[in-house]
């Protein structure tokens, strides 16, 4: 027991330098993956609006895809893409893509048909109705998807330590291996903090982007996941 304080300090110093590095890697991992997913996902959702069949296909694929356990996805990278940072980003893209596509699609497809009609009526092209009418009106649904994916991204970024991504997972894993609780916490708490901060930032961003008349009075009321999506928040 007497050794404890010395070990603590030693670990602390060592971990602190690694901690900063790890945090940076974690953020890069999670949010480059998320950014790519947003860049692919939203257009993909828009495209699936084009026809009923593509809508059904996208819906089915995202539904099935979200049921696949994250650890399995991470593991699949090894034979398929190898190990390291990039394969880890790939996993994050794949796992965050699905909620974004699903929520965006749910949002843009449920815009009041009369509004879409009116838009077409005043001469907007199909693309314009989407970008100028549907997307702005579905901002909340889209951001719900992004926020949910942000949480997933942070989670996956920890798990990808197994395939050599680096990041906070390294510290967590080390703590688990030694069964040293403080180290575990030093690894995981920053990840949690980042998730919460990101959520807050995304909410602020959403409010900024939403035209004033459409802003909800109380965005903290939880919404039921009535569409069967895990991501309708």
């Amino acid at each position: 027991m007497g050794h404890q304080p010395v070990r603590l300090c030693a670990v602390r110093r060592e971990t602190l330098t690694t901690l900063l590095e790890a945090t940076v890697v974690h953020i890069m991992l999670a949010y480059s993956g998320l950014a790519i997913a947003v860049a692919i996902g939203i257009p993909l959702a828009v495209l699936s609006l084009r026809s009923r069949t593509s809508g059904v296909i996208i819906s089915t694929i995202t539904g099935i895809g979200q049921a696949i356990p994250i650890l399995a996805l991470v593991a699949f990278m090894v034979p398929l893409a190898g190990i390291g940072f990039m394969p880890s980003v790939l996993v994050i893209v794949v796992s965050t893509l699905l909620p974004i596509v699903r929520n965006t699609y749910a949002g843009i497809s449920s815009v009041d048909p009369e509004l879409a009609d009116a838009a077409a009526g005043i001469g907007l092209t199909w693309t314009e109705t989407v970008t100028k009418v549907r997307v702005p009106l579905s901002l909340h649904a889209i951001f719900s998807g992004i926020k949910f994916s942000s949480i997933i991204a942070n989670g996956v970024a920890i798990v990808t330590v197994l395939i050599g991504s680096g990041g906070l997972g390294v510290i967590v894993l080390r703590g688990l291996a030694r069964f040293y609780v403080p180290e575990i916490l030093i690894g995981i708490l920053p990840a949690i903090a980042i998730t919460l901060i990101a959520d807050y930032c995304l909410s602020r961003l959403e409010t900024r982007l939403t035209p004033t008349p459409l802003r909800e009075k109380n965005p903290l009321i939880p919404h039921p996941a009535g569409t069967g999506t895990p991501a309708n928040r």
């Binding site: 049921a67 696949i68 650890l71 399995a72 090894v78 920890i158 798990v159 575990i184 916490l185 069967g228």
Partner: protein, 214 residues
């Protein structure tokens, strides 16, 4: 034939039958607790607005952290292996079930509730015979989400010593055993998607039977 033999061998060597049993045991336990507790909480939240606000806020906070984080946070509290895995699965999956149950109960048309009262049903009868049946579509939607969460967290449990199919997955990664990864990966994916499929089918059935969607 060669491949099949290899697969069989991998299966045997890494005790995948045992792992499957462990995996399904953990899943079944956490899922059952989640459904029972989730619906009970949903009914509780429905009957009292104060408890609802506090309860839903607490559960929402839990949902705001990644599931792996919750899993790991529970380790100092309940140890490693089975306990944190099942606890994390339950805690994480409670929100969709409870929130959907409450929303479903509250969402029943007030006209129908008034008719029920007018016809002579008291609060308890109205709850059991009118509100709950009509809330079932939303409740099953929430339960379907719980299936996905539970499966995912139980799989992750393999990393922290809970056994289940997550363990051979991790082994496969660390030893670079592609075959093990593919066999276990496909198998656990099959199980997870299969469970989700069953949940989806039940959800569709309930929607039609109780939700009136022809």
């Amino acid at each position: 034939m060669d491949t099949l033999a290899l697969i069989a061998e991998t299966w045997q060597t890494y005790h995948l039958t045992l792992r499957t049993v462990q995996h399904l045991e953990m899943f079944a336990l956490s899922f059952l607790i989640t459904v029972v507790a989730g619906i009970a909480l949903g009914i509780l939240f429905f009957s009292s607005i104060n408890i609802r606000v506090v309860g839903l806020s607490t559960l929402t906070v839990i949902e705001m952290i990644p599931d792996i984080a919750l899993l790991i946070l529970l380790i100092p509290l309940v140890g490693i292996g089975f306990p944190p895995t099942v606890s994390a699965a339950v805690l994480y999956s409670l929100l969709p079930v409870a929130r959907n149950t409450t929303a479903g109960l509250r969402g029943v048309s007030p006209d129908l509730i008034e008719t029920a009262t007018a016809v002579g049903l008291n609060k308890r009868d109205t709850l059991y015979h009118i509100r709950i049946p009509l809330a079932l579509p939303l409740i099953t939607a929430g339960v379907r989400i719980a299936v996905i969460f539970c499966m995912g967290i139980v799989t992750l449990g393999g990393i922290i010593g809970a056994g289940g199919l997550g363990a051979p997955l991790q082994t496969g990664i660390t030893t670079g055993n592609d075959l093990l990864i593919l066999v276990t990966g496909c198998w656990v994916t099959f199980l997870a998607v299969g469970m989700d499929g069953i949940a989806w089918a039940i959800s569709r059935f309930v929607s039609v039977r109780f939700g009136g969607r022809p």
